[in-house]
């Protein structure tokens, strides 16, 4: 069965992809498992909120983005342990 992925989970996957799997667009697309157009829409939105910024050949996390990612990862672990969905 195809699993539903919430908007928050997609954002988490993108931030993880940017922060931990390289700054290049191709690496972000592969890890976040999104189409190019959809991924770019999310990245532009995250850039507007100051969570990522444009870098050479792609994007990188800002300081605010790192803090947000850490908070989301903690929330995901708690949600996973107690059966909530992010």
């Amino acid at each position: 069965m195809k699993r539903y992925r919430s908007r928050l989970k997609i954002i988490l996957d993108i931030l993880e992809a940017v922060g931990e799997h390289g700054e290049k667009i191709s690496a972000i697309l592969t890890y976040a498992n999104l189409s190019y157009d959809r991924c770019m829409r999310y990245l532009e939105e995250l850039a507007e909120k100051g969570l990522v910024e444009k870098a050479e050949g792609g994007y990188r996390l800002t300081e605010k983005g790192y803090r947000f990612l850490e908070g989301l990862k903690r929330a995901e672990k708690l949600a996973e342990a107690f059966g909530f969905r992010l």
């Binding site: 903690r74 929330a75 708690l78 996973e80």
Partner: protein, 200 residues
């Protein structure tokens, strides 16, 4: 059985368990701050009430021990029961809200009650069992150490309420078993928190 050692033991275990519940609440609040999910806020409030209930109960027991006033024990337990029952309702409610927020979340129900003795502990047993079942279902899907610890914690808490029910039905030996099981339940939550903090 001498009353002083039992009360002293009860107070110490109650304080430790209460602080463990408040730690879970704090961690859940930080998760809510990051994810802004209403279900996590209800979950956090549930654990805050659970912690407050245990601290209140232990404080009234301590006050009863110092002032030699048995009526304080009943008063403390009344507060403990109301807060714990509300806490479990909030935790169960958090799964209901989670279901409403996400089309794939787990289904649960909720209902509150009030009294003292076998009946009240029976109600708390049922509520704790409902949470344990929810967490058991979650563990059967996730198969992770953290989800197992969460399941184990509420299974032990459920068994502790069951022991308190039996204790109040003329089986005093279950009093100590109940406290040990509840303490182990909250210890399991502490281990879960330690694992999450270490991993992040």
């Amino acid at each position: 059985m001498p009353i002083r050692p039992i009360l002293g033991y009860d107070i110490a275990m109650g304080y430790v368990s209460g602080f463990a519940a408040l730690l879970v609440s704090y961690y859940a609040f930080r998760s809510y701050s990051a994810a802004h999910k209403k279900s996590l806020l209800l979950f956090q409030l549930g654990f805050a009430l659970a912690g407050a209930a245990l601290l209140l109960d232990s404080s009234f027991l301590l006050a009863a021990l110092i002032t030699r006033s048995a009526s304080l024990i009943a008063l403390g337990y009344s507060g403990y029961f109301i807060l714990t029952a509300s806490s479990y309702c909030l935790i169960i409610g958090s799964y209901t809200v989670d279901r409403a927020e996400s089309p794939e979340a787990s289904p649960m129900a909720l209902f509150p009650l009030l009294a003292f003795g076998a009946f009240s502990e029976g109600v708390l047993s049922a509520l704790a069992a409902a949470i344990a079942i929810q967490l058991g279902v979650n563990f059967s899907y996730k198969r992770s150490a953290n989800s197992f610890l969460a399941f184990l914690a509420f299974l032990l808490i459920f068994l502790s309420h069951l022991s308190f029910t039996l204790q109040s039905m003329r089986f005093p030996g279950f009093l100590i078993a109940g406290h040990v099981l509840r303490f182990l339940g909250f210890t399991s939550l502490l281990i879960l928190l330690a694992r999450m903090v270490r991993a992040s």
